[in-house]
Amino acid sequence: MAKTMFEKIWDRHVVLERDDGQVLLYIDRHLCHDGSRAGFTKLKSLGLKLRRPEQTFATPDHYRPSTVKTVAQIEDPTMRGILEQLVANAAEFGIHHFGLDSGKQGIAHVVGPELGITLPGILLVCGDSHTATHGALGAFAFGIGASEVAHVMATQTLWQRKPKSMRITVDGALGFGVAAKDVILAIIGQIGTAGATGHAVEYAGSVIRDMGMEGRMTICNMTIEAGGRAGMIAPDDKTLAYCKGREFAPKGADWDAAVEYWKTLPSDADAVFDTDIAVDGDAIAPMVTWGTSPENVVPVTGAVPDPVAEPDPVKRKSLEGALAYMDLKPGTRMTDIAVDKVFIGSCTNGRIEDLRIAAKVAKGRRAAVATLIVPGSTLVKRQAEAEGLDRIFIDAGMEWRESACSMCVAQNGDYLEPGKRSASTSNRNFMGRQGEGGRTHLVGPAMAAAAAVTGRITDVRQMMEEN
């Protein structure tokens, strides 16, 4: 029977299926971070060992201040304590740990792919909702809660119900100045923030095929913002080229065997998905959010919508609430919105391609507002510095920081002040997400750099044409 890629990977990981349909799945690789400590605590309280330390990888990201190079330099005792605890837990349980002194620390979802921990065909979990990112390499990867983290640590397995399958096909070709972030924001705008709930999503179509690995990770990353359990993209030659030679990727004869298997992963031509959605890639413009949910999104050429147009009174009230929180009036052109701060980074847009495009826009210009550039990992930071991108940002008056989740989730001392407005390459514009009372406009890295130099939401295409 024809199978989707998701079904092929799922079937290989079934330990057993109960009569009630609940399935015990084997977990190939488990990513932990500094927020995973409840799992270790539970393991200790039960007196259990971690079953497969060799398959468990940890890196501090949420609580790592972007201003320090060592744990000892962290002034805040809570943050320092949390990072110290991860060091201690990693040593006690014998797991891989990429600490601040390893040269490999970074956001879990950046570190996984770049160290070859994430590979096609594997089942990977992490106690973080943006674990969907890893599906860009053809893996089945999803975020889990703290109880599930402890369960994986103790048993290397997880109880799941099989999600439904969804294919989102983005055909056509992206216009000038349009990139991955715009594509996923357009998808979320089209299907809504619960549009993929209960589904494993496979992205397909010419736009996805033409996209580089970093862009694909951006797309899969925000699948959770459409409610999806996992996002996936079939591995191809770009995937193989990306994986080859990475630290935890197969080598030699193993590599040849892996490639042979990975080539069987793409969905069969006649495989049937529970839901099929088509998105017109030609029609996508640079996108920007106006409200407090990622589905509140419009093209940069658009305007803040009027809740009066919404027939459902409950939805209308929620739109009005979003506008009140964002302090925006219906009909305001997006490009008339001034910002106070810009954040470029996160597991969504903190990779080298993201920094390259942001640097292209920033080059020879000056930031008009405070701008934080926070690389997604230490390796990304080193690569950017080797390419001279750091000089471009610093010369533009922007801050060049150490890798962390930073202003995406505001747990490391970087945050948006109350009443202030940001253009941010992160993934959530929820109320208070970037800081209490902060107002977030989600954009791609080129758009964020454009907002940084103009001090307002700007159609980056005009600036790119100027070059």
Partner: protein, 203 residues
């Protein structure tokens, strides 16, 4: 976790859709150890106005709901971040069940892993129950996991579905780690198979 059989409590209506886990508990509080308790953190920001005072319009702040143990919400409750702290703060405030048309997938599991029962009822049913609660603040609802039935404020009974595996665990108050550890032979067999299939993951 505590077993759940049947639970009757005051129900509080929450009209907003897409109540994300950042609203349920803001990120700055996530560093608190579980053992220290989460009672003071539920909806910490959204229940307060700009000056930090409790907003009287937020239903949870109203006297009629001070002993509430059930939330009746709108679609996509608990979307966003995987933080299990959202379930912890609900539980520490006495909430054993949330009724909504749909839930964020991860939060749905997090509730069940903490002895809570997330109940999915149709959009229109949730809207009806919320309207009844608004009309009679302090009304009680029963969530009966033994019969998979909710009894609304007016006595109407609604059937709901919940995965049988989780239902069984909730009824018995069973932690799944102990259950799974009993399946060691199956896990070891699968692991051996995975080693044979994709040996590079184990070297």
């Amino acid at each position: 976790m505590d077993a759940f059989t049947t639970f009757t409590a005051v129900a509080v209506p929450l009209d907003a859709a897409n109540v994300d886990t950042d609203q349920i508990i803001p990120a700055p509080f996530l560093s608190r150890p579980r053992a220290d308790g989460y009672r003071d953190l539920l909806f910490y920001r959204v229940r307060r106005d700009a000056d930090g005072e409790m907003n009287p319009d937020f239903t949870l702040n109203q006297d009629a709901y001070k002993d509430a143990g059930i939330i009746v919400a709108d679609r996509n409750f608990g979307c966003g971040s995987s933080r299990e702290n959202a379930a912890w703060t609900l539980l520490d405030n006495g909430f054993r069940s949330v009724i909504a048309p749909s839930f964020g997938d991860i939060h749905y599991n997090n509730q069940m892993n903490n002895g809570m029962v997330p109940v999915i009822l149709r959009d229109a049913v949730c809207a009806t129950i919320r309207a009844q609660l608004h009309a009679g603040p302090g009304a009680r609802i029963t969530v009966d996991l033994q019969s998979n039935r909710v009894t609304g404020p007016d006595g109407t009974k609604y059937e709901f579905a919940i995965p049988e595996f989780n239902r069984y665990r909730l009824l018995e108050g069973l932690d799944d780690i102990a259950m799974t550890l009993d399946l060691e032979a199956d896990i070891a067999a699968c692991e051996a198979r995975r080693r044979a299939q994709e040996g590079w993951l184990f070297r």
